[in-house]
């Protein structure tokens, strides 16, 4: 009888947990969507906030330059090695540049940029705004009739939506160079031939779809980071939870929205 009651309590506890998680998910999603609309509304203040936008662009772009460079070069080198070895069995290793630029512009460039900026910038936004929330700075802004959306969120979203396509192009460029080095040194493809095929592989549609993806990813990462930060609960644990959930949610949304954009243009 006692065991039966314990089992019943555990099952009820599980349902309670699942229910609370589902409610929390819908609340967070609703808040994030509302925040996005408010941010769009406050973009009318973007010129007044240009200094903050530039500062956030600097954080997203310049401060992540080293890691972006390394990721770009090594992604190109791995791609060239993996595809080149297979292709050389059919004598097609000269085409490796074509493959690298196609995969980088269509998918890998925006995706790798998004991953780096989720880890470095999205998480920092959640932590920063979360700390401001728990130390009453957001309430202080409200008391001064200053909208936290206009003051904090909008400059971050504008900055990241501009920077992510730029970072993406930078990573694609470095991946092309990294791939060229491997193609030349290990696959014995001359630089001339490699870059000729690489240029052939650049398609206008792949470029604009890739840049569109990067732009949308920039909005997703920043809006989720800010929303989770603004919803942080008091205490250091609250900020940690907000940061972790911002990273997980951004990563999932980048994958899902990335697939939807790909399906829309190529499906």
């Amino acid at each position: 009888m006692k065991m039966k009651n314990e089992l019943r309590a555990r099952i009820l506890g599980l349902f309670d947990f699942i229910g609370r998680e589902i409610l929390d998910f819908f609340e967070q999603t609703g808040f994030t969507i509302l925040l996005l609309f408010q941010t769009i509304f406050y973009t009318k203040h973007v010129l007044r906030k240009w200094q903050e936008v530039v500062k956030q662009m600097y954080i997203a772009g310049v401060k992540t330059l080293l890691v972006c460079s390394l990721v770009g070069v090594f992604t190109g080198m791995i791609l060239a090695l993996q595809t080149g070895v297979e292709m050389s069995e059919y004598g097609q290793q000269a085409q490796v540049g074509h493959l690298i630029i196609a995969s980088m512009t269509r998918e890998m460039g925006p995706f790798m940029s998004a991953i780096i900026l989720i880890a470095s910038v999205g998480s920092a936004m959640a932590a920063e705004l979360g700390t401001m929330k728990v130390s009453d700075e957001i309430d202080a802004l409200e008391m001064m009739s200053i909208s936290p959306v206009s003051f904090l969120v909008m400059p971050r979203v504008v900055a990241l939506s501009i920077m992510l396509p730029i970072v993406s192009v930078y990573i694609i460029t470095l991946a092309s160079i990294g791939g060229g080095v491997v193609a030349n040194s290990l696959l014995h493809v001359s630089y001339n031939v490699y870059f000729k095929h690489l240029l052939k592989g650049i398609h206008f549609k792949a470029m604009y779809v890739g840049l569109l993806k990067a732009y949308v990813f920039g909005i997703i990462i920043s809006i989720i980071g800010c929303a989770r930060g603004l919803k942080a609960e008091s205490g250091e644990l609250g900020v940690g939870h907000a940061t972790r959930s911002a990273v997980v949610a951004s990563f999932l949304m980048v994958l899902i929205i990335g697939y939807i954009i790909t399906a829309f243009f190529y499906g």
């Binding site: 401001m132 009453d136 700075e137 309430d139 008391m143 001064m144 009739s145 200053i146 003051f151």
Partner: protein, 249 residues
């Protein structure tokens, strides 16, 4: 001027305010005392419109803050300044930028005029030399004074002080207490101070209210509170272990 009528508020099923009533007259300095975690800050946040009551009304100059539209709330907040417990200064801005923020963000005056107003407030609070420092470089007392300077920028009719002396040494506590009195006398500001520092409460309060079990169990002058026959009040002001007050979880 400030009225809370039968305010109830619960968080996660825990009832914090249970029919809380309060009336503060214009120009008065009212102090709410009580244990940590008893709901003093919650009461203050209701007046600031940062928390909505589950039931009951909050009135500022006869206008309802509870359930008000964002426009009405904004107008009511124009009359208020809040000194948060931590100071709540924007961490990446200098002292001068923090103090200028309420006016600069809304572009209410030309920049040169705002700069002059900032300098005036910083001199008043003896902070002029710290105008280019960031909050991380300031002591606890300086942070509170900067926050007070910021709260004064819009010449508020009401200032809400949340634990203004918590974490400060006795000398700095006296400085802050004197400033609260100075604001009241020089600018006819209505003050609400939330504290568990009895020395501060007796110094700054025209009247003191003791919050216990979700309601004000006694409101009286400092002398009335000192000579209270209420066991809760006596136990709290004397800090004795014996009495009706139990440790709050």
């Amino acid at each position: 001027m400030i009225k809370l009528i039968n305010v109830h508020k619960a968080f996660n099923g825990k009832q914090v305010l249970k029919g809380f009533n309060l009336k503060i007259e214009r120009g008065e300095s009212f102090v709410i005392i009580g244990q940590s975690g008893i709901g003093k800050t919650v009461a203050l946040r209701h007046i600031a419109g940062l928390v909505e009551p589950d039931s009951g009304d909050v009135l500022i100059d006869g206008v309802k803050m509870s359930g008000a539209s964002s426009e009405t709330r904004k107008k009511l907040r124009e009359k208020m300044g809040v000194l948060f417990q931590s100071g709540a200064l924007i961490s990446w801005m200098t002292v001068a930028e923090n103090v200028a923020l309420p006016l600069a963000e809304h572009r209410l005056y030309p920049k040169s005029q705002i700069d002059d107003m900032v300098d005036e407030k910083l001199r008043l609070l003896q902070l002029f030399d710290a105008r280019n420092k960031i909050p991380a470089e300031l002591s606890g007392g300086m942070k509170k004074r900067v926050a007070l300077a910021r709260a004064l920028m819009k010449s508020p009719e009401i200032i809400l002080y949340d634990e203004p002396t918590t974490g400060l040494d006795p000398v700095m506590s006296s400085v802050i207490n004197d400033l609260i009195r100075q604001m009241q006398h020089d600018f006819n500001v209505t003050s609400l101070v939330v504290t568990h520092d009895m020395k501060s409460a007796f110094h700054v309060g025209d009247r003191i209210g003791m919050l216990y079990d979700g309601v004000l169990v006694q409101c009286d002058t400092p002398d009335g509170i000192k000579n209270s026959t209420n066991q809760v009040v006596q136990q709290f002001i004397n800090g004795s272990l014996e009495g009706p007050i139990k440790v709050v979880d």
